[in-house]
């Protein structure tokens, strides 16, 4: 009975989507805001990557909201999983020699690669979120390869809090120097060089640290008493 009702519901949803999808043609320009951002993007913000200038400068307040949601999810996960009563100590068998050596060799290279991606966020495709996810994958490799190491809780919490605090403080400095929150108050420089685009690289470095240490903290909380 439940299966019949759910298949009926899916057919109704499918018909509704099908009737409205024919009104959306594929491959024609649809809005005018995109053209404005592409044409005025380099002069107003100085970043060569237009998606970066939209995420950090034109819609920077939405990025602040999204960093807040990630923070709430990480805190919620830590709070729910910390009220567990049983602590079963399981014997951790060490990994084989090839895996152990390979992980120790690869870990600094993965960290350098992630840092490269979020520092050059305004020049090439990339940015804070992608670089932070790659850094968290490096920490996951440590948990799988060298199994008795753990990240220190103090350093991870410190990196996460400093990242979030840096974002809000830069926004408030924009309020002090200009007229509104998240104003781009540093000089814009010449496009296509590393030290250009005002506060955009600084915000992306803060976001990269925050997202990387947050995702690594989520994995650490899940693995903890396993």
């Amino acid at each position: 009975m439940r299966r019949v009702i759910s298949i009926l519901l899916l057919i109704i949803v499918a018909l509704g989507i099908r009737l409205s999808l024919t009104k959306i043609p594929f491959g024609t320009p649809k809005t005018k805001v995109g053209r404005y951002y592409i044409e005025e993007g380099i002069e107003e913000t100085g970043a060569v990557n237009i998606v970066t200038s939209v995420v950090v400068s034109y819609r920077g307040f939405d990025t602040l909201g999204e960093v807040t949601i990630l923070f709430i999810a990480a805190i919620g996960l830590g709070a729910v999983l910390s009220t567990v009563g049983e602590k079963t100590v399981r014997e951790i068998e060490p990994a084989s020699l090839v895996l152990y050596t390979g992980c120790r060799l690869l870990f600094p290279l993965i960290l350098i690669f992630g840092t490269y991606i979020f520092i050059h966020g305004h020049l090439t495709p990339g940015g804070g979120f992608q670089g932070g996810a790659i850094i968290a994958s490096g920490f996951l490799l440590i948990y799988l390869g060298c199994r008795e190491r753990r990240i220190s809780r103090v350093a991870s919490n410190l990196a996460e809090s400093l990242g979030g605090l840096a974002f809000v403080v830069i926004g408030l400095l924009g309020l002090v120097f200009g007229g509104y929150f998240l104003l781009n108050f540093l000089p814009k420089g010449t496009a296509n060089t590393l030290f250009s685009a005002g506060i955009i690289p600084i915000i992306y470095i803060a976001i990269g640290f925050k997202v990387g240490s947050e995702l690594a903290g989520i994995i650490d909380n899940l693995i903890e008493e396993s």
Binding site: P125, G126, Q130, A133, I134, S137, L215, I219
Partner: protein, 79 residues
């Protein structure tokens, strides 16, 4: 060109159906990671390199990792 994209879309839909049919939960998670990976390739064909990089790093790697850690702490087979 259109045949490559059609083949990838068909493979993605087959992977999604397989994720709903398998009874071993770890196999279902790997099918969902395959869906994420092919979606990342399709994002590249739609001229969006930032989104392709984010989907490959977050959807295909970290999501599968936290699912497998959570399955290890609960049951493995659906009953």
């Amino acid at each position: 060109m259109i045949f490559v994209v059609s083949f990838l879309v068909v493979l993605m839909l087959v992977g999604a159906v397989a994720a709903s049919i398998f009874r071993d939960l770890i196999s279902a998670v790997i099918a969902a990671a395959l869906v994420s990976l092919i979606a990342s390739i399709l994002f590249y064909f739609l001229q969006a390199p930032d989104v392709a990089m984010a989907e490959a790093a977050i959807g295909a790697a970290l999501t599968a990792a936290i699912f497998i850690i959570a399955i290890r702490r609960t049951k493995r087979y659906e009953e």
